[in-house]
Symmetry: C2
Subunit: 168 residues, 2 copies
DNA sequence: CTTGGAATGTCAACAATGCTGACATAAAAT
DNA sequence: ATTTTATGTCAGCATTGTTGACATTCCAAG
């Protein structure tokens, strides 16, 4: 392993910023994301669903009554793409739609009991892996992990993430 | 923000392992990965390619002369899926194939000059974002980041990553 | 040496999930 | 009241994952 501790003029650790170190980090991100999604993907594929369904379930569970438009902003896909996913979740009885009370154009989304059950199954699997990784890595590593992730986000995603982070 | 520093019996930071903290980390991973792929995706879509083409270019660039079978192990997709991507990269003149010298079943893959140019463009964009995130987060965060990522990988991916990390 | 099986890669067809475009309905603005 | 804007749906296309069928090459057993 190359020396990681060379100090720059302002005491910064510069070797982290070599292209080679960055390339390794990029590859780590790629492989880690495979792991991140592997367990839920397995469960979903048995039920004929995909990763997009998981994302929808996650954010509906997190913000019950959210609208389609709301979800679009969070997920960063087109409404047409999301609509297809929602349609199949509704048809399968995992999601319930209620037409807006004040604004009748809006559709408010809720998990059914079954939907909540599936969401729990998926997020339990994902949390279990995350928990194990965090335990192995230790609390300081986890803090660093979250710091870097936040910096990697687009401005818009970061705002969304912040807004979700503290309640909402 | 909730207190992050509660200490467990063995001095471990246990609050990180609450479901709520884990859920936030999961969301951070989701949004960060969007950012991670955003810049290359933009470039690729202009050229009529997708993320799968980027991955192939990356690993061919990294290990010139690698075989199709080799790439399959790294990318974790089926050979049929990879084959389609390679076919279009070859047709576009970005990748060159040489039939194996010893084993004529094998196809060895190389980037053409154009392919190397495109790969450089894509990886420069991705590295720029990573570099900026690392700079903002600081060296200790980066160490933690990489530690956690490595722990999140599947066993097989971790072995692959380790093998790639040190030469090879 | 021949033959049968294993390894490598290609082609075809299907599914999930992005996308754009056209449209219906409800709300808001003029 | 009519036009414009916002929200959501439906249809069709592209990318990229999948499985299945097949061709070629290598290797090992007889």
């Amino acid at each position: 392993m190359a020396d990681r501790t060379a100090q720059g003029p302002r005491g910064e650790n510069l070797l982290f910023l070599t292209d080679d170190q960055l390339r390794k980090a990029i590859e780590a991100m790629f492989f880690a994301y495979q792991g991140f999604t592997a367990d839920p993907d397995r469960i979903l594929s048995e039920k004929g669903f995909g990763r997009a369904h998981h994302r929808a379930l996650h954010f509906i569970n997190r913000s019950p009554g959210t609208t389609v438009n709301n979800l679009l902003g969070i997920l960063g896909v087109t409404k047409q793409s999301l609509n297809r996913v929602l349609r199949s979740l509704i048809a399968a009885g995992f999601v319930e739609v209620r037409v807006g009370d004040k604004d009748k154009r809006e559709r408010h989304l809720f998990l059914t009991e079954d939907g909540a059950g599936l969401e729990k199954m998926l997020s339990e699997a994902q949390r279990a892996r995350m928990r194990a990784a965090f335990r192995e890595a230790g609390p300081e590593a986890v803090t660093g992990f979250r710091t870097v992730l936040e910096q990697m986000m687009d401005e818009e995603s970061r705002r969304m993430f912040q807004r979700l982070k503290d309640g909402a």
